[in-house]
Symmetry: C2
Subunit: 309 residues, 2 copies
């Protein structure tokens, strides 16, 4: 397949999906509002929706060790799009899905991508979902991303979500919702970094509906300069289940961070825990690294990199 | 002074304030909507408000090791009252204030006491505030208490609040608000127990406005039967401060518990932590006590008593 992709788009693709070339397996690459490359595999069908609002990804039961890449890049200023992608993961499948969005804005108008991803995960299926968000460009227009991840996990199913907002996203409202059946597991590792005047809001809503279901949400964030962040998580224990949410945030400069977690037990066999901590980097940590020869800025950067892994 | 008090009122008084006789020091005893006994001391003035809505308690600067008792009892069904008590604690004072409300309802109508307590704590003053709530009586009318504690703590001031809802309160909405100046400290130990169809809501709102101010809020609660509880706490770090809130809750039977804590850092030098855990008593703990000869119910009761101290 002949794909037209310019150097800026290629850089965005690398940042959000680690892709240097066309990936193996199934993929769909969307650039400036249009699908520019698509590949289905024997077990994974990628089908554009009839109404043009996104794609359906259908993964056959039992599909093992395959991957789907669906990166989105926007390099044209002023583009605004809402995309609906639906994933149907068959029973017993075990797959990796790599999504991500990169926006380069060199203009005055805002660029915005709202990706709504819905996952229907079959019994005993396992999904590793990796999502990265990245912005670049010297334009005054904002780079806006509002990802939604809506998940239903069937009996004994498993989803692991690894999501990162690396840098350059001016405004984001992230919503992640999950409903878990018996024995299902949902784990999330979120990493967020904001700087300048950026704003980030991340909300999780998890319903532990089935016995022996479990959720484990970890959010790590760094807010620099005069950026602001809000973390909201709601875990509802409606059965014999376990839920854990943890929000650790580092403030640098004049940034503001708020954490509002909620745990609700509607069943006496629910076991729910939340932890949150907000603070700046401990002075001793910085001094320790400075005695090893780093400047204060380098020490701070090294600690932050370690924190966000 | 000659005080008319019946055995039911005496029992309520004992439960909420540990009083078996008229206390030493300053006191004001309110029964069925009226002040029935009052005593000021050399350093502590208790003055009824002109409009009859409550009392002003004025504690002279430097007053040390004195106490104020202001229990309230309601033994008449169908009484509803809102009382405003204001405490002015002079600089450098060190006092203990014991409040508390006991309602005995033997009738069909609801009995309700809403006590709004405002504290103005001077520089370097220390206050230990003890508050107990208790209900009794076989009537179908509800026993309702909505206490509010509104606190302003001056420079290097200190307040320790020990609040307990022992049993028998059908519905409660508790609100505790505190504003802390430089170097001020606010610590809270809340213990709540609900049973039957009782409802309890407890909300904390703390503004850490001054450098080196600190708040430490611990809430322990047990919800039995089909009772329900909501715990809300909001800690705002607006300066170089430290804030910690902790909510531990045990569910027994069909009870429901929700914890919604919020920590917000508006200053990069704020250090805020929240922890919450909801669950039932671990099976092993019960079994361990049962091997020592206790029945399951006795084991459960012993664990709960230990948890609520």
């Amino acid at each position: 397949m002949d794909i037209k992709i310019d150097p800026i788009q290629m850089h965005l693709l690398e940042e959000v999906s680690g892709l240097h070339e066309i990936p193996a397996g199934a993929y769909n690459i969307r650039a400036n509002g249009k699908g520019i490359a698509r590949n289905s595999s024997a077990n994974i069908d990628i089908i554009p929706k009839d109404n043009g609002t996104g794609i359906d990804i259908k993964i056959k039961p039992g599909t093992k060790h395959e991957s789907v890449h669906i990166p989105v890049v926007l390099s044209e200023a002023g583009l605004t799009e809402v995309v609906y992608n639906d994933f149907y993961i068959g029973e017993g499948a075990d797959v990796t899905i790599v999504a991500g969005c990169g926006i380069h804005n060199g203009g005055k108008k805002n660029s915005q991508h709202d990706g709504i991803h819905r996952f229907y995960i079959g019994e005993n299926a396992r999904v590793r979902y990796v999502e990265k968000h990245y912005g670049s460009g010297e334009g005054t227009g904002e780079r806006i991303m509002n990802p939604q991840t809506i998940v239903e996990i069937g009996k004994n199913g498993y989803m692991e979500m690894d999501t990162a907002q690396i840098k350059g996203v001016d405004s984001t409202k992230r919503l992640t919702k999950a409903k878990l059946a018996e024995g299902a597991t949902f784990t999330v590792m979120e990493r967020l970094m904001t700087h300048g005047k950026q704003y980030a809001e991340s909300e999780f809503e998890v319903d532990l509906d089935g016995d022996d279901s479990g959720a484990h949400i970890v959010s790590r964030s760094v807010a620099k300069d005069s950026s602001s962040q809000i973390f909201i998580s709601k875990i509802h224990g409606n059965a014999k289940c376990s839920g854990h949410s943890e929000c650790d945030a580092i403030i640098v400069g004049d940034a503001k961070i708020s954490a509002i977690p909620e745990i609700t037990a509607d069943c006496s066999d629910a076991s729910l825990i939340h932890e949150a901590a907000i603070g700046k980097i401990a002075g001793e940590q910085i001094i320790k690294l400075m005695t090893l020869g780093l400047t204060e800025e380098e020490a701070e950067e090294q600690i932050i990199n370690g924190f966000l892994k």
